[in-house]
Symmetry: C2
Subunit: 356 residues, 2 copies
């Protein structure tokens, strides 16, 4: 039954794919066509398809989890992924962006059910889901595509952390900029990622895991690698503890599902201030110097949270106490909800078949 | 012989493709493999290929011309396209970016020779060449690709202007920004184009052909649509005529082959000042008001030059005398060189088989 499968403990993120894939085509004449689930196979794409030339492509990252508490397979806030996929398509002027979110969740659920043997058992394991929309329009001019393909492939993944958290070391010292107001930083589109490969390689060559992206003359902190980023510190003005992450209204921050979940959860606790505002690098450096920086972590679907242990800034390393209590608590809460051990807010952890 | 071909006068840019394509694969183990010219066909691409998810793709636009003066088929400055393709690949951290430029020109020439019946005769007609490099790496993680495909397809195109120049009307009133220093604006990569589809559609809905892209608080003028842009004006400081286009050193301007050719040509004439500096919208608005703005035009491979007749700025239309003498002269010179009627600078118009 698991003939092609790796042993779960040997899984490497994004390399093993399950047996089937979802395919839904859109054309100007026929609009969205009937969804098909077919054996996973290579795509036949015209060499003139505008997804290959003009980056007309967007995607989502989601996971299906085997509940620890019962027999269910669960998705985590899939409505958020549908909303973002629609918004990414709209940003790229893709027609069909107003698809029915609930119907697409149904299709994805059917795919997961068919390939459910590919979801390894045990906490930390999941089936990574990758809904993707590409332009298939055969046209070398630059135009809104007259045909699209929405497909979803899935990939079993193991625990992000094999033996406790693995804190990451970051650098801010890069000449590159990830995103800007008026660009595509708030959409999950291919172009945002291609541009980060070289900065990432240069950071790695200096011994840092990721780039911590700054923007503008005030060096506001936007994201880390391809995650959102949070700082937990004692605010200089208020002398109160504050959890800070970048706001969405400037349009250069990806509206992460994990980001939103952390904001909602920590606000519901009511134990400290929770702010959506841009922390600046001078502010963080000063907080670290004055002992007011408590924790820092990245947040995203793949890792949930990733503690940050060091930030290079203007040639100096700012060391941060690794993996504090807050990072651990957020991890416990969110993974607890994802695996059905903890009852989360309504609609967060949805057994397949139960979504609205 | 022309069974599948449209009548030359009915050609629509980018829709008709010739019979063959060039394919060259790269892998980590084998480096660049032997080039193959095969019948044009759909590509088989893994649904996990990183070109479809992370925008790891770049391309070039070139043309092959039938000489008016002799029997030769000519390319225009293909070395510039090779240099830019290499630099785009490097920006995306694509391995193999240090390919042999001359060998790739040879391969492209062989493709053009095989499909030479697809090059329509007559001035204004050409075979558009689209060398493209995509990542074929099957991996859902974000990493430098371990496999690439370089392919080239070709498409016969007719005259850009059917009956004299067709001046374009532009708007600067858009919330979008094309490129940013530290981004990918200087590379010919997919992500730069996908992001302009929505701004373009919004401009069209207001009755303008293209967006004139501004950048920064000083509203410096960077590009128009997907072309470079030139202004010919009487400089306020010097009272001398000056041809101005944006400089490359900020890293947000595509180094266009036509742009470079116009700079070299007009400098060789020695008749007016030629400047690579950022014109600003307030400067252009003032020049127009004071009668000092003589001409404005876009520059690119598809159109060579495109006169600009109007620029919307802060809700008002600035009208510009359409198609002046300079635009026409540059058109005559460059197309004259491309079609072998005029002897251009050494290495510009190269009969196939003659490049170094």
């Amino acid at each position: 039954m698991r003939s092609e499968m790796s042993k779960p403990e040997e899984l490497v993120f994004g390399t093993t794919l399950s047996d089937h894939m979802l395919m839904i085509e859109w054309s100007k004449e026929k609009n969205w066509m009937d969804p098909r689930i077919i054996p996973r196979q290579d795509l036949n794409i015209s060499p003139a398809a505008s997804s290959l030339h003009y980056g007309i492509q967007c995607f989502e990252g989601m996971k299906a989890y085997r509940s620890i508490a019962d027999d269910s397979i669960r998705l985590f806030r899939p409505d958020m992924n549908m909303k973002r996929l629609s918004s990414s398509m709209d940003r790229l002027q893709m027609p069909g962006f107003d698809f029915n979110h609930s119907q697409l969740i149904d299709c994805i659920e059917n795919l997961v059910l068919l390939d459910q043997k590919w979801i390894p058992e045990g906490e930390g394991y999941s089936l990574y889901l990758r809904p993707t929309v590409i332009a298939t329009h055969k046209f070398l001019g630059l135009a809104a595509p007259d045909s699209l393909l929405l497909f979803c492939i899935t990939s079993p993944v193991g625990p992000y952390y094999k033996s406790g958290f693995a804190p990451i070391r970051l650098t801010t010292d890069t000449p590159y900029v990830r995103a800007w107001p008026g660009g595509t930083g708030a959409a999950k589109v291919g172009g945002n990622y291609a541009s980060t490969m070289k900065p990432q390689a240069e950071a790695a060559a200096k011994g840092y895991s990721q780039v911590l992206w700054l923007f503008g003359d005030d060096e506001s902190i936007t994201e880390v690698g391809s995650m959102n980023v949070f700082f937990f510190l004692i605010n200089k003005e208020t002398s109160r503890p504050e959890l800070v992450t970048a706001p969405l209204d400037r349009g250069d921050i990806l509206p992460g599902v994990t980001r939103d979940s952390i904001l909602q959860l920590t606000r519901s606790w009511g134990e400290f201030d929770v702010s959506e505002r841009f922390p600046t690098m001078p502010e963080i450096a000063q907080a670290a110097k004055e002992g007011r920086l408590i924790e820092a972590f990245g947040a995203g679907t793949a890792a949930v949270v990733t503690p940050i242990s060091c930030i290079e800034y203007q040639g100096n390393d700012i060391e941060i106490p690794a993996t504090g209590k807050l990072t651990q608590r957020i991890w416990d809460e969110i993974t607890g909800i994802q695996y059905g051990k903890i009852e989360g807010p309504e609609g967060w952890s949805i057994p397949i078949g139960d979504h609205q």
